[in-house]
Symmetry: C2
Subunit: 208 residues, 2 copies
């Protein structure tokens, strides 16, 4: 009763939102199970418990649906990384990334989409702009605040942050697929901070 009362004002719109979410969830599960190449709208509809029409009312094609879901996931807010120190922020970011990469659905979907991106310019474009956005936000949050605190020089280039912080953990977990225990995560965080300090140092010839 309470739930229905709460729902009442938004009415059908809420219901549509729930179907959309169910379709998105089903798409992620299908992508993980069979990959983009073998994915069918019919299987997504079956898994979501909706009609194919319900899907085609929202998206024109399988590609449309996948691009939309990728954008939606990519634009999720990053947790507020503000531990008060660069070391703490980098360690927290590595924890967040290791959680995401360790997720079984993500660990199957990400490589699949990257492989499709090598052949499909639309998927490549969407992934690249999502990644660029993600890199920019990491740079702004982690590097920007470290510069404010005086932990990094003001000339620090935010673009290097993702390479140096996310690169090693992505390689370890998603490419080499080796485990990373908490002590190693700590060590990786300290190494990333050292790398950032060197990469963000203003070149000597610009100090003249």
């Amino acid at each position: 009763m309470t739930a229905e009362k709460r729902r009442a004002p938004a009415g059908a719109a809420v219901l549509r939102g729930e179907i959309t979410s169910a379709i998105r969830r089903a798409l992620m599960q299908e992508l993980a199970a069979v990959g983009y190449g073998r994915l069918s709208i019919e299987a997504v509809a079956r898994r979501a418990g909706v009609s194919k029409t319900a899907i085609y009312r929202r998206w024109n094609s399988k590609l449309d649906l996948v691009l939309d879901v990728v954008s939606a996931v990519a634009s999720r807010k990053l947790p507020m990384l503000d531990t008060g120190t660069l070391d703490g922020d980098v360690r927290l970011l590595l924890l967040v990334v290791s959680g995401a990469l360790g997720h079984p659905v993500a660990s199957q979907i990400i490589p699949d989409l990257l492989a499709e991106a090598a052949r499909n310019p639309q998927i490549a474009g969407t992934l690249q702009s999502a990644l660029k956005d993600y890199q920019d936000r990491i740079g702004k949050i982690v590097i920007g605040r470290a510069v404010e605190r005086g932990e990094l020089p003001s000339g620090a280039d935010p673009r290097t942050a993702a390479d140096l912080i996310v690169g090693p953990i992505y390689w370890r977990m998603a490419i080499a697929r080796l485990p990373l225990d908490p002590a190693e995560l700590d060590r990786m965080a300290r190494a990333a901070v050292a790398a950032l300090r060197v990469a963000c140092a203003v070149p000597e010839d610009e100090l003249a």
Copy 2:
């Protein structure tokens, strides 16, 4: 004439070797063009200019052929990285890796095989052992020699080398797919050396 004379002693074996090489090359090109899922032995035979029988005489299946080629590529020797300093060795390794990642065939095949690995345990196993071998060799060459020179402490863990050296450049070129100019490659090398120094430092509680 000279070529035939040179070839004579090995006879038919040499010819077979050439066909094998042609099939391997054709497989790489097909993999890059259509991906593992859509790859057919027929198309590989057509591209190599050989019969399907010539392929099935050598490999039992498409999977067999792909696993063999992956192993063959992965076991290629790393160039002797011995510039005399850790900085030099890391920079040279980054140059080699950037060359490999920038190769159009590699940049399509690698993500495709990683995606298949998430679903096919045999591909995953072959890739993982090839990568492990590669990581071990990098570790032994780069870390081992730096320890001998006194540039890194003797407790240095060779396994971290690939994460910290290859991770950032792989992220930059293969995931974010952004260019890397020579000045940035230099900066990435200096950052990797700083990261290695921190990651390889013997923990304080072990110095007691």
